[in-house]
Amino acid sequence: MNEHAQTMLEAKDVVFRYSETGSNAIDGLSMQVKKGEYVAVLGANGCGKSTLAKHFNAILLPASGTVWIEEIPTTDEDRLMEMRQKVGMVFQNPDNQIVATVVEEDVAFALENLGVPRDEMRCRVDDAMQMAGIYKYREKAPHKLSGGQKQRVAIAGVIAMRPDCLVLDEATAMLDPIGREKVMHTVHKLNRDYGITVVQITHYMEEAATADRVVVMSAGRIVMEGTPRQVFSQVEAVKALHLDVPQSAELCHALTQAGLPMPDDVIRPEECAAAIYKTLTGKEPPRDV
């Protein structure tokens, strides 16, 4: 019980397959996500990331093994609504997650389902829209918003439930750099200021580099795990899994291989700039970059 108090999500020896005859989409996977943690999940197409995400709020149930949301096993049907409220899911395509025809009504959708009284609902909807930075679009029709704005509507619709955890399945994949930046900013703020645990599935290494922990999957299993620095310093291993490393890490790695020794734990552009400056001039960079 004491252990559960710290754990938001836990998967133990989870196996899942979509059809009896097919191969395992999840193949004996175990992982833990602590409360307040920001975890990025990486992996090539079809390695089972989305399947794993769907296990984290009981959309899918494991064929064997167990998934817990806090202390609740996801097989506990009586507490399904509670689990769905605790773990909010955001998917890739915002168009297919928005139900209502007005932004604020969509944000209220989950609360309407949960039977929250009207006054409290008004408050929570407004809060959620403020948190996601879409308050000024509250009366608009979703199809008149940009992709980034729509995705933030979807996020607001989920955080209105006051979840303890947010699972984002390639939530930024359809957005342009500005839209992605805005959504990432929102998610980080929710993690930092409101202590919401985040599990983010992504193909963008720059996004993964901002997480507390990176988990790399391949063929339904976890194959690498650690801080972004630990993972991305193993450039060759990551590339072998058909993934990229952040461009800064890649540049430093290439420079090292070309005979210019560089630190191997660089993942952010600023660090990369500082390291190159130091190597070239032999001095510390003049200002904090």
Binding site: E105, N113, R118, M161
Partner: protein, 269 residues
């Protein structure tokens, strides 16, 4: 090109009619239609014309929109009018006789009556959709039908279906546009050829559209489940429909006019 279609034809505004409780509007529109049939005399129909024109002015909806909404059914109006002129027989002598066709006074009266009725029905119901957004209308329908849910009528499901349809219509229109362009880029001739050819050319548009619609439906269902959707049971609503003082006045005024329309039957005789 498909983007130009506006569904439900709603013209946002801030008039008393726009802000009126949609349930009252819906019920009053229905009563109005019934009264058009009850009051089958010149005085009654005169009142109904004045009423509907007055309401258009009140809602600041341009009157030419009535013409626009009538346009598609002009053939029907003409057809019924002509039919009535020639086939209604009266007791008095026919006004005109063309061989076997006789035109009676009653026939002309009846034709005018029907035409005015149809115009008033169209103008009245269009006014409802012009001044009420589809979402609000859906909410009104849901609330009005709620008593039926006791008889196991799926009121909530119906309203949810309407909402989702309204939400996805613009999306699917956009998608149709995209697929049509994609097929045109592959050499499909969608705008030319005989009718048969054009219908055939639509098949490669419709199939991807259906597939994508099903995929969307699948994803939407999952997203709804993730947000704790479990049917209409124990649901609350963000917005409650309320009758304001102004609505009560408008309703009373409308009822007075309706009564006048009904009474006109006695006056005319």
């Amino acid at each position: 090109m498909l983007r130009d279609i506006t569904i439900g034809q709603h013209f946002p505004g801030d008039s008393a009619l726009h802000n009126m409780d949609p349930r009252a509007k819906l019920v009053l529109t229905l009563v109005y239609i019934i009264m058009l049939f009850v009051a089958s005399n010149p005085i009654g129909l005169g009142i109904s014309i004045v009423l509907v024109f007055g309401l258009y002015l009140l809602a600041k909806i341009p009157l030419r929109l009535i013409g626009k909404s009538l346009k598609p059914i002009i053939p029907i109006i003409l057809f019924t009018a002509v039919l009535n002129v020639f086939f209604v027989t009266g007791e008095s002598e026919p006004l005109v006789s063309l061989g076997f066709l006789h035109i009676y006074r009653e026939g002309i009266d009846y034709a005018v009556l029907i035409v005015v009725r149809i115009i008033c029905i169209i103008a009245g119901t269009s006014l409802l959709t012009y001044t009420t957004s589809p979402i609000v209308l859906t909410a009104a329908i849901e609330q009005l039908l709620r008593p039926l849910s006791k008889l196991k009528f799926p009121v909530h499901e119906l309203a949810m279906m309407m909402t989702i349809a309204l939400r996805f219509i613009p999306l699917l229109i956009e998608e149709t546009d995209k697929i049509m362009n994609a097929q045109k880029a592959r050499g499909a001739q969608l705008d030319s050829g005989t009718l048969m050819q054009r219908v055939k050319a639509l098949i490669p548009v419709l199939i991807p559209l259906f597939i994508s619609a099903f995929r969307r439906a699948d994803e939407l269902a999952m997203a709804m489940e993730c947000r704790c959707y479990h049917g209409g049971e124990g649901r609350t609503r963000l917005k409650e429909l309320r009758m304001s003082g102004k609505d009560v006045w408008l309703t009373v005024a409308a009822v007075v006019v309706f009564v006048a329309m009904g009474m006109s039957n006695f006056l005319w005789k």
